[in-house]
Point group: C2
Chain length 261, copies 2
């Protein structure tokens, strides 16, 4: 039912990429076939999942946007992980996105090319988005999505300020482009129960979004999660015994339940 | 000599806003008169420094960009802190920036209006920038700046990936718009000496940027820094005895030394 999912939040460093990567890896461990689309010109997801020796010759999301002849399929490549495919990003996406803006149809190009045939090949299509509210990349991602997840950093002084901002943008996407776009849920990330900020946020976040919209699973702060990404690995490949691996696996199970219902 | 300073890094959550706010507060404590410009549509700096009862009636950076008659001076307002003035941001900057793109002169509007008279009123003009590499807001900030600071999160798995990206963009700014733009330095933020990632990063960051470009002062991870921002305070107002306050005060002293030489 919900198959194409954007991981999105304007706030920087709240765990979008970390979630796109490790949710996908967890889903793969649960037997799901996953396509990850890196819509962020920063290419952090690309760095973790992509084979650096192959990336220079592969077509990326830039080719998809630039090339009139391009299909999404022609930009799909393998990752280091058997059950995960990816459409990679590239630094050129920074300049490409500026050029794309002049043509309104470019705002919905991803949706236009996300065919039924392509959807049949995967259980889930997970999109990592840049912190670019209202921008052409975020619009492409959200207009093509069935649902979206909002990671929120529990220690983030500005977490709640971002809530209202996302809501306004989602409203306009629903109105103009994608009336059935669903919020799958808010994922609490970097939870640190020793901290007073976390205690306060664990009350404030449900108040801001509505308790029913918060995933039961929280991702606790676990230095191994960052260490894994720094080594270009998923947490499962780095050390599946870490708390971070358990958290993301439990999150993936809850996610499957919520999106299959 | 260096007076107008951008705090910039494409990577989200590396401490740009936290540094813009607390460096400015530290400078004020050292007797400096500071103007803070919030160029980020997220308005995190605005939330910390601005009086919420006054903000709705004040002109912001949006009015500066939108209004042909606007001057920078007409958009300057007080903050809760006597020695700090600000040009505030507003949510509308997300949509405004998209409209501005069509007119090339809008990319350098900040510089065009940053007059000698205005510069005389302040010791420093500190600009908080959004994570929008190559975008119109970052271009305005950097083309108007004498120098820039790059905060880098020591626990950040993607910190070094961003280094190369900034360098490329700065190169094009220097070539086309601002040949004398200087990197004042790289500020190591959220340093946590208990962590193995920090140990590795404290070697990797100087290697990536060059040892001479790293500020000697590092900002250690200090939950009070985040708690302060969450309460819309600077760390000094929240609790000047905290390690975070000492770190930012020492950083401000080093910053004054580096920018006056
Ligand atoms: N030294 C520190 N110790 C603890 N928390 C910190 C520290 N510095 C920043 N933080 C917290 O980390 C989070 C990210 O910081 P901040 O918002 O300043 O980053 P940013 O680079 O401005 O992010 P964005 O890309 O969204 O603009 C905030 O919640 C902030 O309060
Ligand atoms: N649960 C966690 N425990 C420890 N570190 C984490 C955790 N989740 C994320 N991190 C680290 O926090 C930093 C920010 O995470 P990430 O890059 O995923 O955020 P983001 O929202 O994608 O940022 P951006 O806005 O730049 O795209 C990274 O260095 C990451 O490794
Ligand atoms: Mg990311
Ligand atoms: Mg910021």
């Amino acid at each position: 039912k919900i198959q194409v999912v954007s991981i999105t939040n304007q706030k920087g460093g709240c765990g979008k990429t970390t979630t796109a990567v490790n949710l996908s890896a967890a889903l793969a461990r649960l037997g799901q076939k996953v396509l990850v689309i890196d819509m962020d010109p920063q290419g952090n997801t690309t760095k973790v999942l992509g084979d650096p020796s192959m990336l220079p010759q592969w077509r990326t999301i830039v080719d998809f946007f630039d090339d009139e002849e391009a299909t999404l399929e022609s930009c799909i490549n393998s990752t280091k992980y058997k059950e995960i495919d990816a459409i990679y990003s590239h630094l050129d996406l920074f300049s490409t996105k500026i050029r794309l803006i002049s043509e309104p149809l470019n705002y919905v190009k991803l949706r236009s090319y996300l065919s039924k045939e392509l959807r049949k090949k995967y259980n889930y299509i997970i999109i990592d988005t840049p912190p670019d509210l209202g921008g052409i990349l975020m619009t492409n991602a959200l207009s093509a999505s069935d649902g979206y997840i909002v990671p929120v950093g529990t220690e983030d002084a500005f977490a709640l300020q971002g809530v209202k901002q996302i809501a306004t943008f989602i409203k306009s996407i629903r109105k103009g482009l994608n009336p059935t776009l669903e919020m799958i849920g808010v994922l609490i990330t970097m939870r640190d129960d020793r901290s007073n900020i976390t205690k306060a946020m664990l009350q404030a976040i449900p108040n801001a979004f509505g308790q029913e919209h918060i995933f039961k699973t929280c991702i606790k702060r676990n230095v191994a999660i960052s260490a894994a990404s720094a080594k270009n690995m998923t947490i499962f490949k780095y050390d599946a015994k870490q708390q971070g691996a358990k958290d993301y696996l439990n999150f993936a199970k809850e996610f499957i339940e919520k999106t299959n219902g």
